[in-house]
Amino acid sequence: MRGPAPALPSLAGVAARGAQPAADRPPKIQADGLNFYYGDTLALQDISVRIQPNLVTAFIGPSGCGKSTFLRTLNRMNDIIPGTRVEGRVLIDGTDIYGSGIDVVELRRRIGMVFQKSNPFPKTVFDNVAYGLRVNGMAGSRSELEARVEESLRQAALWDEVKDRLRDSALAMSGGQQQRLCIARALAVRPDILLMDEPASALDPIATQRIEELVYDLKKTYTIVIVTHNMQQAARVSDFTAFFWLGRLVEYDRTDKMFTNPGEKLTEDYVTGRFG
């Protein structure tokens, strides 16, 4: 630690600057002036960000900074919480997902989500992966369904461990396996974006490493947004990093720059562990 903890600098003007990395491709996800309310509480303020396709973007920040809330606005998961409200726009492939005529069900199929606490359904391993295919009418014949389940489990690096236990309850697996099952389940419905909300925070280092390797492999096919409170993890897996603080986006840039030469004092203090 270098000296005493500094007083937190004022945020005035920070959000307005909202450094954006140069866009080399049209963004996969773009938020414009997004405000989010829980009841009367403003939880996210004026978030604008452009997330690149086929890269991993990490959201970091202290607890309660709004990073998970922002992640959940990207597939409208906050809709199921009563009393929430969104202002501004979120564009995915150029379409405003809060616009009229958007089918939330179809939207969520296209945007897979993995939660902080693994939440396999209390069903068999096979049925967990097959569920999304069935509810979306993608199951096809029995052999097609089985092939798709196997493919998804292979993508999630879980097939070799569970191929003889497909009929066993998913709840009998270890925590790390359960989380990879949730990833396989999300991949089965062929999303093009994968949102991960602290996917490894409840896992031991070995299971965490497997998830991180998986994220690295999956970004070839998917656009991945990962929320993490573990800065080493953000540095290891992500190409871009966004730092949230008190409901605002403080800085967003290439991960290497964010961790070595951040533009904001606040970012530097956070990534060097001086607060948070």
Partner: protein, 292 residues
């Protein structure tokens, strides 16, 4: 240092003693409750046990106590409770799903909620009067199995709704989120994820509610089931009687032999109730095992 350790040790000893005395108290209370139940069953058994026989189970009412049986009332009870279940369970579960999963927290929803809770506490004879006015007279069902079952269905509906809502509320939100995140609709989430997890709780609540209904006498007397019925019900429109009414009938006779019959019929009713409760436990354990 050592003084504080001694003080800590004393506090721990006191807490252990408190723990033990509470355990002992709970055990005593449990034994009292079980003893009361045991005494009741033993008393009924000593009165009516010798009367129990295959002939008693399959016999019909008779002026001669030794010839009288309970077949008409036993089949009546089972038939009425089956129809009650068929009427009340789908409506009750559907209402609970609406209130818990679809309903908003609006003022009208809260008023409905409070009213359901109140309805669960309404004396059963009031339901009997409602059944008499609505089903027997206004809808012209007469003193039929259907009228009796409809009345009992109204009686158990609030209990089924309340216990189903409890069971739905106990389903972890993470399961709903996981389902929504995969692109499932609300209905798919409820049907494929929430209901299977809530099923053991729903079954337990439902069977306990039906067990209450099977022992009900007042509402059925009110709708006119206390008539002499000497045959097993043969359809929804058939007149009927049930075990509690047959017991009531026999108890109110002056001959001592009919009192014995009443005790024996009570044993049959108890056996029916215990069977239903055992079924509830068996179903619950079975489904919980499936969930792993």
């Amino acid at each position: 240092m050592s003084a504080s350790q001694r003080a800590g040790g004393g506090a721990i000893a006191r807490r252990r003693l408190l723990d033990l005395s509470f355990q002992a108290l709970a055990l005593v209370v449990l034994c009292l409750a079980l003893a009361a139940l045991g005494a009741l069953i033993a008393d009924v058994w000593s009165d009516g046990g010798r009367r129990l026989s295959w002939d008693f189970l399959t016999g019909f009412p008779s002026r001669r106590p030794a010839d009288a049986g309970v077949w008409h009332a036993l089949t009546g009870s089972i038939f009425v409770i089956l129809v009650t279940g068929l009427l009340a369970v789908p409506i009750g579960v559907a209402a609970a799903i609406y209130l818990e999963e679809y309903g908003t927290r609006s003022l009208s929803a809260r008023i409905i909620e409070i009213n359901i809770t109140n309805l669960a506490a309404v004396p059963s004879i009031i339901y009997g009067l409602l059944g008499l006015g609505l089903f027997v007279r206004a809808l012209g069902m007469g003193r039929s199995v259907l009228a009796g079952a409809s009345t009992l269905a109204l009686l158990v509906l609030p209990v089924i709704i309340l216990s189903t809502r409890e069971a739905l509320r106990a389903v972890p939100p993470s399961i709903r989120e996981g389902s929504y995140a995969l692109g499932a609709t609300k209905w798919q989430t409820v049907w494929y994820q929430v209901l299977p997890v809530a099923l053991p709780g729903i079954l337990t609540g439902t069977i306990l509610a039906l067990s209450r209904a099977i022992g009900e006498t007042a509402p059925l007397i009110t709708i006119g089931a206390l008539t002499f019925v000497a045959f097993a019900p043969d359809g929804l429109w058939s007149p009927f009687t049930v075990l509690p009414i047959q017991i009531f009938n026999w108890v109110s006779r002056p001959q001592a032999e009919f009192q014995v019959n009443a005790a024996a019929a009570s044993l049959v009713l108890l056996a029916l109730l215990l069977t239903m409760n055992a079924a509830a436990i068996w179903l619950r354990d079975r489904y919980q095992k499936d969930l792993g």
